[in-house]
């Protein structure tokens, strides 16, 4: 494998990182919305978001991408392929992050909510100043775990012809007929990105377990 092929892989890597970042950032906002609706106390909202989460956790990510990708095209929306894919990943991320943060919000001790109420804090202040900061800390290991999952998941964008790292790998491998070498290198690149995140997540989890013991 020459320099040109390796640079092509790195170009794919750029897209992998861009796609992961966009999906994670957008998914953070929408996921927070999902988590807040899921714990809002309004039955209809809670049911609707529970259904949304169950739908995305019960179907393959690949199908979610296909349905969003081809579904948006039906509406005659002339979107760039990568925008359509980013929307698909964002919807996916918002369901998973919403579920993670719902758990975290519910794990904050009840006394905290009651104390905030007793101090007559409104909903916004109660969430922003009391509940969410504590929930964030609780949810951090799982959130990082999901980020790793998401980075690995972006490899599925290759199925709809988006040239991120995995698809760049397939293309190079088809060119130079050295699949083991190419996919080995691609695997190593993913590993270099994901492993530090996994280690960091595991460390936070241990710290948190030690702190609550």
């Amino acid at each position: 494998m020459g320099k040109a092929e390796f640079l092509f892989l790195l170009k794919g890597l750029q897209w992998t990182i861009a796609l992961s970042a966009v999906a994670f950032v957008c998914g953070t906002f929408t996921g927070l919305g999902v988590a807040l609706m899921r714990t809002s106390g309004f039955r209809l909202l809670e049911r609707a978001t529970a259904g949304y989460i169950a739908l995305f956790q019960g179907t393959p990510l690949l199908m979610q991408l296909f349905v969003v990708y081809y579904g948006l095209a039906l509406y005659g929306l002339k979107l760039d392929a990568w925008v359509a894919i980013a929307i698909g990943f964002t919807l996916h991320a918002s369901a998973y992050l919403g579920e993670i943060w719902r758990g975290a919000i519910e794990a904050v001790p009840r006394g905290q909510v009651e104390a905030a109420r007793a101090l007559s804090l409104g909903y916004v202040s109660r969430m922003k100043d009391v509940i969410l900061p504590q929930a964030l800390r609780i949810s951090l290991p799982a959130t990082i775990g999901f980020l790793v999952q998401l980075i690995k998941g972006t490899s599925l964008a290759a199925f709809v012809g988006f040239t991120e790292l995995s698809r760049a790998g397939s293309m190079v491998s088809n060119q130079i007929f050295k699949p083991l070498l190419v996919f080995g290198i691609v695997g190593v690149i993913y590993f270099i990105i994901c492993w530090p995140l996994s280690l960091y997540g595991a460390r936070l989890e241990r710290q948190f377990a030690a702190a609550t013991r």
């Binding site: 393959p60 199908m63 349905v67 005659g76 790793v148 690995k152 083991l180």
Partner: protein, 222 residues
């Protein structure tokens, strides 16, 4: 939106899609079985007295958990023939799913094994039980019981992951759907339909696994 839905091709191919569902469930079942074998074996190796074996197991778990399944299945798909093992794509997919699920299973089962009280093992040995019996009855079964919920969600995830096996054209639902799609160009209808099929299958896997747990692990602990 001026698009008219046409589910004709989907209805026409419905029997094939149902066969595809069976293929998916078969892949998932094979993958789960292999994952349990690798998981239990890995836990034994992970705590073996021979240090290189321990490191090898840790490396295996970390590598698999931090690389995408798509890259893994491609790698295995091309590596097996070089190792002189010629298998059809479906068998290759089962191996890839088992290897992937196995790495997660090692971590999950290990958590359960560590939760076993040392005194229980010593009590078992003091009663003159053989080491293998102690491992099976005193360590493994309660450990599996403790981690069963995490294992269940991992296996549901494995069932959903089978769709990626279509990359090496293993026989499962997504590749069947791909064929119908490329004949009819009804992408949204086809993939929308099989998305619902996946939803039903993941629910089915969960129900069955919960049923097994209610039978097999239904004994008093105190």
């Amino acid at each position: 939106m001026n698009y008219t839905f046409d589910f004709g091709p989907v209805l026409e191919g419905f029997p094939n899609l149902l066969w595809g569902c069976l293929g998916t469930l078969g892949l998932a079942l094979g993958g789960m079985a292999l994952a349990i074998v690798i998981g239990v074996g890995g836990v034994v190796l992970r705590d073996s007295r021979f240090q290189p074996l321990r490191w090898l197991t840790i490396a295996f778990v970390e590598v698999i958990r931090n690389t995408p399944f798509l890259v893994q299945i491609y790698f295995i798909f091309f590596a097996l023939p070089l190792a002189g093992i010629l298998l059809n794509p479906t068998a290759t997919a089962v191996i890839a799913l088992g290897v992937n699920g196995g790495a997660y299973a090692i971590e999950i089962i290990r958590g359960g094994v560590q939760s076993i009280n040392k005194g229980q093992i010593e009590a078992g040995l003091a009663l003159g039980l053989r080491k293998s019996v102690v491992f099976r009855v005193i360590v493994l079964k309660p450990a599996l019981r403790a981690i069963y919920p995490s294992l269940t969600s991992q296996f549901v995830l494995l069932t959903l992951t089978t769709s990626i096996a279509s990359a090496v054209s293993a026989y499962e639902l997504t590749s069947v759907a791909k064929r119908i799609e490329s004949d009819s160009f009804r992408s949204f209808e086809v993939y929308g339909t099989i998305t619902l099929m996946y939803l039903v299958m993941s629910w089915l896997v969960m129900v069955i696994l919960n049923f097994i747990s209610s039978r097999y692990f239904n004994y008093p602990t105190k």
